[in-house]
């Protein structure tokens, strides 16, 4: 820590006539880890895109190592030593690790690719990062964490001085996060400066030296990490006091409304059984890859099962395709919002009624009652406090939190009795998260039952009446009431303990 490597002075950015960054100024010091936090739409990504030459600034100066620089395109930033690891990895899945690392800066000998040298260098780099992957491995065969290591190597191959990491832990398991943090510390010692963007305040607290908070495109505050508490961070991000994050839990009735028995997908999930009571929030916990999403996809008829029974209201039902599940009044909010939840080129209205469309077009020519669609959408706009210029607005123009609200509305519009929410708060900001918690709570109070999948411990602890913990495709334990805490969940999730309850 000490001298300033990068100075940002009065940077503003406007898209057409709307200013989204308002005269932002801050410093980044040599070999520090600077955390930047803020809600979705606070301007973090926009600022980083300016620093990496993806967006052009509207006004202001960027001073790098005491020289004013002008970033016109991404390669300009890379050349001076600013690299970014984007949230969505920027790797070509058909190419090998080595090819990806040197993509765009291939080493050559006599005008031909020097494959041997590149392979050697890749090996060295991977060794420094202490990861055990072969340079010849194809990207598509790597895990999320390994892909991230490749991204880091790619940045290092460019001799980066500043490495920007945008939500690097969102695809990682707890163990992988530990490895990543160890690596970050190591790189920091070797002189690398890291800008760390995240929603996860605990991680910021753990890894960063300093934290800067943005809200609505304005600079709010900047503090040394030990001078600010998690609560203060959250409050400065939102700009108001966060009262109760989680609502008080609803007491479910004893009536079992939904049950699965011995659900099996060969090689994926094995003999998964649990029951859901009316008005209950049943958590599904476990590490990434434990098979939780696969269980819900099997319930929804998105994956063929080799065995097992699904009972709704004590009646055995057969689900072969998603339409069967919808008919059985089961709703599913997918984990992958953009990939399988919403259509970004559709309007808010058309997204909301996508699943429930048959009920708006229940006539011989399946003519859609567009007035009814609009009415329903208005209702959800109000319930969810949806912020959109208009209900005709395409979803690509909405923030992640608002997209998620639309996705929720879509799932609810089929009027399900059983609601499966798969990572409902993934990638959305604190206040939208809170809204969703309260909304789920009000739903279960009305008698809807909810299966709540989450990788965030606090959510499981704060929201669920019971938690089913899975490991390696199997249920290892079901926790209740006071047994629901981080340690217990971890014990079962890692398979240290098994067969609870």
């Amino acid at each position: 820590m000490g001298n300033v490597i990068l100075k940002v002075e009065n940077i503003s950015k406007s898209f057409s006539t709307v200013e989204v960054l308002h005269s932002l100024s801050f410093n980044v010091r040599y070999s520090e880890i600077l955390g930047i936090i803020g809600e979705n739409g606070a301007g973090k990504s926009t600022m980083m895109k300016i620093l990496t030459g993806i967006y052009l600034k509207s006004s202001g100066d960027i001073i790098f190592e005491e020289q004013k620089i002008d970033l016109k395109k991404p390669i300009d930033a890379k050349k001076i030593g600013i690299s970014i690891i984007p949230q969505e990895f920027n790797l070509i899945k058909d190419l090998t690790v080595c090819d990806n690392i040197f993509l765009g800066s291939e080493l050559r000998k006599n005008r031909l690719l020097d494959k041997e040298l590149m392979k050697k260098k890749t090996k060295e780099m991977l060794k420094v990062l202490e990861v055990d992957i072969s340079p010849d491995e194809k990207i598509e065969n790597l895990s999320g964490a390994e892909k991230q290591m490749v991204e880091i190597s790619k940045a290092l191959a460019f001799k980066s001085k500043i490495l920007i990491m945008d939500e690097p832990t969102s695809v990682l398991t707890i163990n992988e996060i530990k490895i990543l943090f160890r690596l970050m510390k190591k790189l920091q010692k070797e002189g690398l400066t890291i800008i760390y963007i995240s929603h996860k305040l605990k991680e910021v607290k753990e890894i960063c030296d300093r934290v800067m908070i943005l809200r609505d495109g304005y600079f709010v505050t900047e503090k040394k990490i030990d001078e600010i508490t998690l609560e203060q961070m959250a409050e400065s991000m939102v700009g108001r006091e966060l009262s109760q994050v989680f609502p008080s839990k609803n007491k479910p009735s004893d009536e079992i409304i939904f049950e699965i028995k011995g659900l099996t997908i060969p090689g994926v999930i094995e003999n998964v059984s649990f029951a859901l009571r009316k008005g209950e929030v049943l958590g599904l916990g476990g590490l990434v890859g434990a098979g939780r999403t696969e269980v819900s996809e099997a319930i929804m008829g998105l994956r063929p099962v080799s065995g097992g029974e699904i009972m709704v209201k004590n009646k055995l039902i057969s689900i072969k395709k998603p339409a069967d599940a919808i008919k059985a009044e089961i709703g599913y909010l997918s984990e992958d919002r953009q990939g399988s939840g919403i259509i970004t080129s559709f309007s808010v209205i058309h997204n909301i009624t996508l699943v429930s469309l048959p009920s708006y077009s229940n006539n011989t020519v399946s003519w859609i009652d567009q007035k009814a669609e609009l009415k329903a959408s208005k209702k959800y706009q109000k319930i969810f406090n949806l912020k959109a210029p208009s209900l005709e607005t395409h979803l690509e123009f909405l923030s992640g939190g608002n997209q998620q609200k639309v996705s929720m509305a879509k799932t609810l519009d089929t009027k399900p009795d059983v609601l499966i929410l798969d990572e409902p708060t993934k990638g959305i900001d604190v206040s939208a998260k809170q809204e969703i918690y309260h909304f789920v709570n009000s739903l279960v109070k009305e008698g809807i039952s909810c299966i709540f999948i989450s990788s965030e411990m606090e959510e499981l602890i704060g929201m669920c009446n019971r938690v089913v913990v899975m490991q390696d495709g199997r249920v290892t334990g079901i926790l209740e009431d006071k047994d629901i805490n981080e340690e217990e969940i971890m014990f079962y999730a890692t398979g240290i303990r098994e067969g609870g309850n």
């Binding site: 929804m300 998105l302 395709k321 998603p322 339409a323 599940a325 919808i326 599913y332 997918s334 990939g339 399988s340 939840g341 919403i342 259509i343 970004t344 080129s345 559709f346 058309h350 996508l354 699943v355 469309l357 048959p358 077009s361 020519v365 399946s366 003519w367 859609i368 567009q370 210029p389 607005t393 123009f397 879509k410």
Partner: protein, 316 residues
């Protein structure tokens, strides 16, 4: 943002108006009623096919077989009617049976493409490339590579008739466009085909039967090819096995794209396609009238297609 949506919706109409304006300055004959009707008649055969192609492309697919399918259906219809003529006296009944057969054949051929694409899981480009070759070859075979003359006395009449001054094929195109426009914008199927074309995965997760939605779009285009083929065969009262429908697939795709439908799928416009087809016809007509070599007309058409797509890109 409002401006952008408006442009997407009405861009092709504006372009058509500009084109008509320019053409009317270039040639005094352009705006003559007879000339306009000629253009519309010429584009209607492609236009009808392009209406179906719009649905296929919105659904994220493509159909290269429409041209040879048109020839094949035409050949079947004429041969079948010639046969029927030897057993049934009443020529009107012969025509009705012949047409019904043609439509059914179209639905069947389209369904074949759709089946191979959805159940066989082969890329639409490949499936329809294959069926394009199959249909043309079968046409040549059953027609002995020559021209198949219709022996029906009145079949050739209705295709050349006009109703309220407007040629029959133009009426057919306009009525079909009006109906299909409603299907696209106001019915569940229309919404579903857009969803499937935008993001197949989301559609699947949303309990939409993706396969049947796509399957139906190919069946639909097959039926429309049959309609077009029946009208075209009636116009000449004959089918040329080697020439009929040649290059229709490219013209139909061009009309769809110029009309503002995204080749990547997900959104499109039925009236836009009609506009696109008319635009291509107007360009040909104008080039003829100002005496540009017919060999150069393809170049102009190509430039218009590239220009239209380029403008759409910029506006996104």
């Amino acid at each position: 943002m409002l401006k952008k949506i408006d442009w997407q919706k009405y861009g092709s109409f504006v372009a058509l108006l500009v084109l008509i304006l320019v053409s009317s300055f270039l040639s005094p004959y352009f705006l003559k009623f007879q000339n306009l009707m000629n253009i519309l008649r010429q584009v209607s055969y492609i236009g009808i096919i392009a209406l179906g192609m719009t649905f296929v492309i919105i659904g994220g697919g493509i159909d290269l077989s429409v041209g040879s399918m048109a020839a094949f259906i035409g050949a079947i219809v004429v041969l079948f009617m010639n046969f029927l003529g030897t057993v049934i006296e009443n020529e009107v009944i012969v025509i009705i049976i012949g047409m019904a057969t043609g439509i059914m054949a179209g639905a069947l051929f389209g369904a074949f493409n759709g089946f191979m694409i959805t159940k066989g899981k082969i890329a639409p480009f490949i499936v329809t490339l294959g069926s394009m070759a199959i249909f043309r070859s079968l046409t040549l075979y059953i027609g002995k590579a020559g021209e198949i003359q219709s022996s029906n006395m009145i079949y050739g009449e209705f295709g050349t008739e006009s109703f309220m001054l407007i040629p029959v094929p133009v009426w057919v195109m306009l009525i079909l466009a009006a109906v299909l426009n409603l299907v696209l914008n106001n019915t569940r199927y229309g919404r579903y085909i857009c969803a499937v074309g935008s993001n197949q995965n989301v559609a699947m997760f949303s309990a939409i039967n993706v396969s049947s939605v796509r399957f139906f779009s190919y069946t639909l285009v097959g039926i429309l090819v049959a309609v077009s083929s029946i009208l075209l065969a009636s116009r000449f009262n004959a089918v040329s096995t080697s020439n009929m429908g040649l290059g229709f697939e490219l013209d139909a795709i061009a009309a769809v794209i110029v009309g503002g439908t995204a080749l990547t799928g997900g959104r499109g416009s039925v009236w836009g396609t009609v506009c696109g087809a008319v635009m291509l016809g107007v360009i040909n007509n104008m080039l003829n009238m100002v005496g540009v070599s017919p060999y150069l007309q393809g170049t102009v058409k190509g430039i218009v297609i590239l220009g239209a797509v380029y403008i759409q890109r910029q506006k996104q």
